[in-house]
Amino acid sequence: MPGVSLKALSKRYGDVGAVDGLSLDVKPGELLALLGPSGCGKTTTLRLVAGFLAPEAGEIWVGDRRLSSPASVVPPERRRMAMIFQSYALWPHMTVAQNVAYGLRFKPGLSRGDRDARVREMLRVVQLGGYEARYPGELSGGQQQRVAVARALVVEPEILLLDEPLSNLDANLREEMRFEIRRLHETFGITTLYVTHDQGEAMVISDRIAVLRAGKVTQVGTADDLYHRPRTRFVAEFIGRTNVIDGLATSLDTVAHGALRLHIAPGPLQPGTHVALSIRPHQVQLAAPLESADGANTFRGTVRRAAFLGDTIDYEVAIAGSDLVVRAAAAPTPRFDVGAGVTLRIAPGACVPLAESE
């Protein structure tokens, strides 16, 4: 099972969706999500890997085969890959079985009987046994999705490419299919590139996530890495919700925002430089105002807004003596009303400094 290596890949057309010197390694057997807002170049990257586009610079390697370079591009049909499309791209004039069997035609030395058996087995795996003779138009969206998955997996590709495969499903089904795709990945272990703009999807499905912005990889890491240790403001804001506080480093572990002083876990701050801190809402602790407001990163504030979300309450709290308004996600009890005074506490370890430049 080979991995995929993208080396300084560039492809410009128009301005939107361009890829600009993108480098990325997908480990063998890994499921890596390409995550980013629309126009960040993630679909272009996927189509470069599939061989539908030729790069203007850079190379694509799978194992020890060089598949793309500006000089030569191995055509899609000779890349031993499979792809699942946003639209599913099922052929409406072929039955489910014919759709799934299509790729097997190009496998040498496979008898008709073998082919049928593999198709049946694969349809059983995606829980569509008995649907062989149906046409795609007769299936629900979720079932069509499963056919697309089966068609891609049955050829046992070296590399599997998925282009926002769940975006056409309704919310419940999407949730279910996330786990389904993860399950299939664990069963087959195919090296997979998964394009999505939905961070939740990326976090559930993938081993690692590459966050793309303007045609470049901003940060690669596990969901945990990206959530707890975002390196840039873009990643911090794109993965989950966060408070970003701009300030000036006054010591190795202190950041000043106006009169406010925020302590962070001992880190590599350079005194005198501008720095931005990311603080996740659920790491802002709220307490009754009567309690003492001493200690590191403890402030008084006033509740501006409160929204009940079931398992948490979402607060907006204005910090006294400052222009800062932070969001906090707190347990439903104790409950603070709008206008009430509160005490905020933020653990120094929860303040993550972000790279200034992007």
């Binding site: 599939a50 539908f52 055509p75 899609p76 049909e77 000779r78 890349r79 890959m81 499979a82 792809m83 499309f85 946003q86 639209s87 791209a89 099922l90 052929w91 409406p92 004039h93 299509y102 790729g103 035609r105 190009f106 496998k107 068609r151 891609a152 050829v155 490419l161």
Partner: protein, 553 residues
Amino acid sequence: MDRSIAVWVSAALALVVLIALPLGWLGWLSVSGEHGVTLAHYRDAFADPALQKALWNTVVLAFWVGLVSVAIGAPLAWLTARTDVPARGLIRGLVLASFVTPPFLGAFAWVMLAGPNAGMLNTLWRSLTGADAPLLNIFTMPGLIFVVAIYTFPYVYIMVSNTLALIASDLEEAAAILGAGRLTVARTVTLPMVLPALASGFILAVLQALALFGSPAILALPAGFHTVTTQIWSLFQFPPKVEQAAAFSVPLLLATALLLDVQKRLLGRRGYAAVGGKGGQRRTIALGRWRWPALAACLVVMSSAIFLPYAVLAKGAFARAWAQPLGRDNFTLGNFTFTFFEYGSTRAAIVNTLELAVLTACIGAAMVALLSYITNRRLVVGHQLVAFLVLAPVVVPGVVLAVGLFIAYTRPPFVLYGTLWILFLAYLTKEMPVGYAQADATFRAIPADLEDAGRVLGAGRLRILKEVTAPLAKSGIIAAWCFIFIGVIRELSASILLFTPSTKVMSVVIFDLKEEGQFGAISVLGLVMLALTFATVALVQAALGRDVLGARR
């Protein structure tokens, strides 16, 4: 290198030769004199008072046809698209019938209906009132305008009804909820949204009238006046003045191009209809006590375009004397034997027409399929130019195209004049845009994903074309084939300049028969032509699963 490239490139090159050769020669000959470039031909053409008169007549004809078409087509479209007028399906079907009826057949029928002496409506009028003077005289400018307009209004109808079908009632209701009354909604929302369609329908109607040869030849020539197209034709009569004809053709070509450009801008700038959001419902407006009067009005239009002309053609085909009542002693099948077995050129002409129609449709459908695939998937450098060229013949009136082809193919390297091939080229060129539009819509509806999905799994491009694209495009291409076929069997304006005694086609023979006053045989051939047309239309509808006028079923 992709093996398929050769296929794409040669299709594109064939197209360039097909279009550029006749138009290039046309332009060149119109300015070439014995001593190099000259404007003498233009001077000769436009200084001639007779030609000036023809030009003016064409302007009058085209303008009024445009207006009358809007006056008929727009209300009909609104009635069938938005109201509960009875028998909407029937009305739509009749509009379609009028759309595919060869206009020159309609003109013949109206000669039999409203000729000043023997016209049946006039005979009826005289017997009812005892008057001497005819009620109607079709051999006049108003008569010509009328006959052209009743077969041209479908262009307006199609534009307007397809637009209305795209405008969701939500848009009107959004205005109503803000306090606009019914009339205000119509004035401030519906009408402005339909206006571009209306204007572009007007322009299409004008263009039809500009390019038409048959109806003016049948109605204007006996009335003693010319239009540009008949004038070009008469410049081709012995002794032919080809250069003058070329010079006279170029302005017609430019006017058409200009008008089409205006039309495109009208539609393009504010393509409102395309902005249709999701789930737009279209609610029908109840006409109340106006339902039946509205239907009656529709049927009056349809009787002049369809019922009366078809009836008179049917009668003419089975009557010994077409002007007399069709009784037992006036009934005959002789017209059929005469047409098919006795009259010299009919059988050869029918064979020629069918051969040409099948050949043109097959080659044309294959070409437009290839070309639209190229432009849709951007397979060659310069695919925009391909799209432009394939649509270019739209601006070339049949007569003008014929002049260009005549010039291009009466001299080396391609001497085709006198063979069926020159007619084939004329038809292929002329019908290309219609076929292309159909094929283009077909490929547009087939997402590239469907092809990409196969390629990733290991199939090459040509294989995907065969196994995925072709099966999906089949019905659309069959429809393109039919459109081309229909276009060819009714073609007159180019054929009339390009035929020779051994290469006559049906429309030309009908025209000959008119010179001889053989109305029975004209009627028979007309019925054959209509039968072929409607059979083909039925085939299209079956292939596309919708009607030819372009709305969902």
